[in-house]
């Protein structure tokens, strides 16, 4: 019995066709594109779209994962398996220098830590590979400053975004021209919402990291956050671990990604849960809440 009727998937077909168009356009126009692969659900969808776009050929660009060293072990395991399964080339980049010098979120705070282990690392990884275009799975509905992001987002030679000076983007005529050293971030999922992503994962049976599914996990409850205990999460004085049935709504680094209480252990249950939900998915990400407009500031500096 089909869970979702064909008529309900009509808009997914339109989104899929648009994303495939964007992937092909960028693959044709750039000399060295790369796909930023973050292991999350959006990356999984983007990867499936790339498989479709170039079938029966292989995906004509490598995947790049920026590994902060603070990711959940389940994510790394999934990443290595899935890249092999899809038959894509996988590049893993770490800011080894910062890690060797002891960079961590507890001592540096989330902003500095993100700056070093994500943004800096990303820019270095892109420069090292000589990539002139990078696909990212960001969606415009994720956060306010992303609503004005272009599908082709121009970055200067330092990888910075200038929100007030973006190229106009009309029809599906994307302008990817750039000088040496400059680059374009390409967002094929711009027009998808979180809900669309889940519907598509369901309809296409796309594999995702098990952390998205609810199960009993050992956690510590801190303020409004539920932090899954993993190597690296430091208990504060007076905190006690407890077992909570929970799941991740979006995946990030262990110390900065909270879980939500949930019984949803299948994709349909997650979809059902979302409908009764009234909180946005990045709400459990500590980094977005540092100050108002913090995502915009990070993006200006080169973050996705």
């Amino acid at each position: 019995m089909p869970l979702l009727e064909a008529s309900r998937l009509e808009h997914l077909k339109m989104l899929e066709a648009e994303s495939i168009f964007i992937l092909r356009e960028a693959a044709a126009e750039f000399a060295h594109p790369v796909m930023l692969y973050s292991i999350g659900k959006d990356s999984s969808v983007m990867l499936r779209l790339a498989q479709k776009a170039f079938y029966p050929g292989k995906i004509p660009f490598p995947l790049l994962h920026i590994d902060t060293n603070y990711k959940f072990p389940e994510m790394i395991e999934f990443r290595d398996w899935y890249a092999r399964h899809v038959g894509a080339e996988l590049i893993v980049h770490k800011n080894q220098k910062a890690l060797d010098e002891g960079a961590n979120p507890y001592d540096l705070g989330t902003q500095k830590c993100c700056g070093l282990l994500k943004t800096r690392s990303l820019l270095d990884g892109l420069a090292e590979g000589g990539f002139d275009a990078a696909f990212g799975g960001a969606r415009r509905d994720e956060e306010k400053s992303r609503a004005k992001e272009r599908v082709y987002s121009f970055r200067d030679s330092l990888g910075q975004w200038d929100p007030k000076n973006q190229r106009p983007e009309l029809w599906n005529l994307y302008n990817g021209r750039h000088h040496k050293g400059e680059s374009i971030r390409v967002f094929p999922l711009s027009n998808w919402t979180e809900f669309d992503v889940w519907l598509y994962i369901h309809a296409e049976k796309i594999p995702i990291v098990p952390l998205y599914f609810a199960k009993e996990r050992e956690v510590v409850v801190r303020g409004n956050s539920i932090l899954v205990l993993q190597t690296g999460v430091h208990l504060l004085p007076g905190e006690k671990p407890q077992m909570v049935k929970c799941r991740m709504r979006s995946l990030g680094c262990v110390p900065c990604t909270g879980a939500i209480r949930s019984d949803a252990d299948t994709v349909p249950k997650i979809i059902e849960e979302m409908i009764s939900f009234r909180r946005s998915e990045r709400e459990n990400r500590v980094i977005d809440h540092d100050e108002e407009g913090s995502m915009e500031l990070k993006k200006r500096e080169g973050y996705f």
């Binding site: 648009e18 092909r24 609503a147 004005k148 029809w171 750039h178 409908i275 009234r278 915009e296």
Partner: protein
Amino acid sequence: MATTPVEPTPETKSGIPKPVSAGTLLRFSTAGSVDDGKSTLIGRLLYDSQAVLEDQLASVKKSKINRAAGPIDFSLLTDGLRAEREQGITIDVAYRYFSTPRRKFIIADTPGHEQYTRNMATGSSTADASVVLVDATKGVLRQSRRHAYIAHLLGVQHIIAAVNKMDLVGFSQDVFERIVAEFQQFASQLGIRNVYAVPVSALEGDNVVRGSKRMPWFSGPALLEYLEQLPASGASPDAPLRFPVQYVIRPDASFRGFAGQVASGTLHAGQSVVALPSKVKTRIRSIVAFENEPLSAAPGDSVTVTLEDEIDISRGDILAGEEQLPSVGTALQAMIVWMHHEPLDPHKIYLLKHTARTVRARIHQIRYRVDINTLEQLPSKKLDMNDIAKVDVKTTLPLFFDPYRLNRTTGSFIVIDPLTNVTVGAGIIEGAIEEQQQASQRRHSTREERVLRFGHPSGAVWLKGRPHVAELLERRLFDEGWHVQLAGPNDFLAHELVTVAKAYQLSGHITIFSPLDDGTDQKRVVRAIYGPDAFFAVKIDDDTDEEATERIMKVLRKWRDKQSDSQKENS
């Protein structure tokens, strides 16, 4: 942490509640400025259809910047950039998403002020419908007219006039009807046939998502109800096939697939198609897909096809239905929206991206500029940012195009500055310019034709004893798109000067003569060949190379502009 209760929703057998997402996608644009309630209207649509999430609402409530407009300031939900929140204005196009049980919506939310015409055009370029806001307390202002005009120009199929702030006019039917009549009259001038007008109060929610008890005299659907049942325009499947080839897939020698998105018409195995520019006829062998190979493809589908015959096709080519081919040509007429603070330069070579093809082009003539407030057609020599004009375009390589009103994909292009790489304009194709082309194929090119293509007549710069300036000047002019060459002291013998100068003069180039000294005679001879109007003897005192070059370029630009103006007057 408790979740806000949502209205109970009917459940399907599978346990997935009915609302949220369904059917097709509808893209609509809005335009407006600070005080006409646009942000409030969008905020209301998002809030009432529950696309505004609790934590976003919380962050609006705790925002430091406050424009205080009732309990919830909806506009803070929609203005995404820091600068916008601080200044209380909408600068850029923002995209918003929400779903109802019937369909998914994408709103292109644009500022309404004249200085943001280009943003309105951007938002309209992909829209199926436009919601034009009219302030009930003010009537149909320029802003509403402007938005309707731009939406219509960009081919938006459905125009909806949302007469807002009905709460401030006592929900008066008379006021509404007077405004609608005024709007209809303006719309019919533009050739807009269907306008749906709806009286709303965005602030209080009347006729936005649900009908209004306070306006029993209005029986039409509320704004959202109307948008829910609109057909998404899209290209017609009945139109002739246009399949621009985006990417060639060749995993091995045995497979060659052509990937692209169907712009119009349909594709199916066995269908006859013509490849352009080669004009070779072939048939579709199959439509290839990752799984479940489709039997046919409709407009908007991204597919990969294989062909019966091995023919040479690459990115930028197009597969077309043989019953009606697109126009093929290098001369076309278009409406253009200029988008950059650097004005259009009719002499400059731009890049033009049209489907998957990028060619060099000149926008060499401005027929008229449109005053977007009065719709008057005004003569104009230049185009500034946000100007809309009818222009003649000449490309170096042929395009395969249709008029925009028939096909949004093959009828549109963007203009890119080749030096800065910035998108500077957007073009809406009206049709081919044919007259001169055929005649010119029969005889050799004339001086006038060369001037048209080069952007300037032939001329001579006499620059004695400063070889570095000569070289720098040549490079700068070349980079600016001039047809220029350098004639240095070693390039010919003294007695050849007359022959050489005559040949150079005929070629239409700008020639920089760079002798070691003035044989007075030589200078006089060259001056006689070019005539005094096209001969520039440059005296350089102690200017630096850079200063001297800049000074000469200024003189040449001025001369060129004067020439092209007088040519226009003659024609």
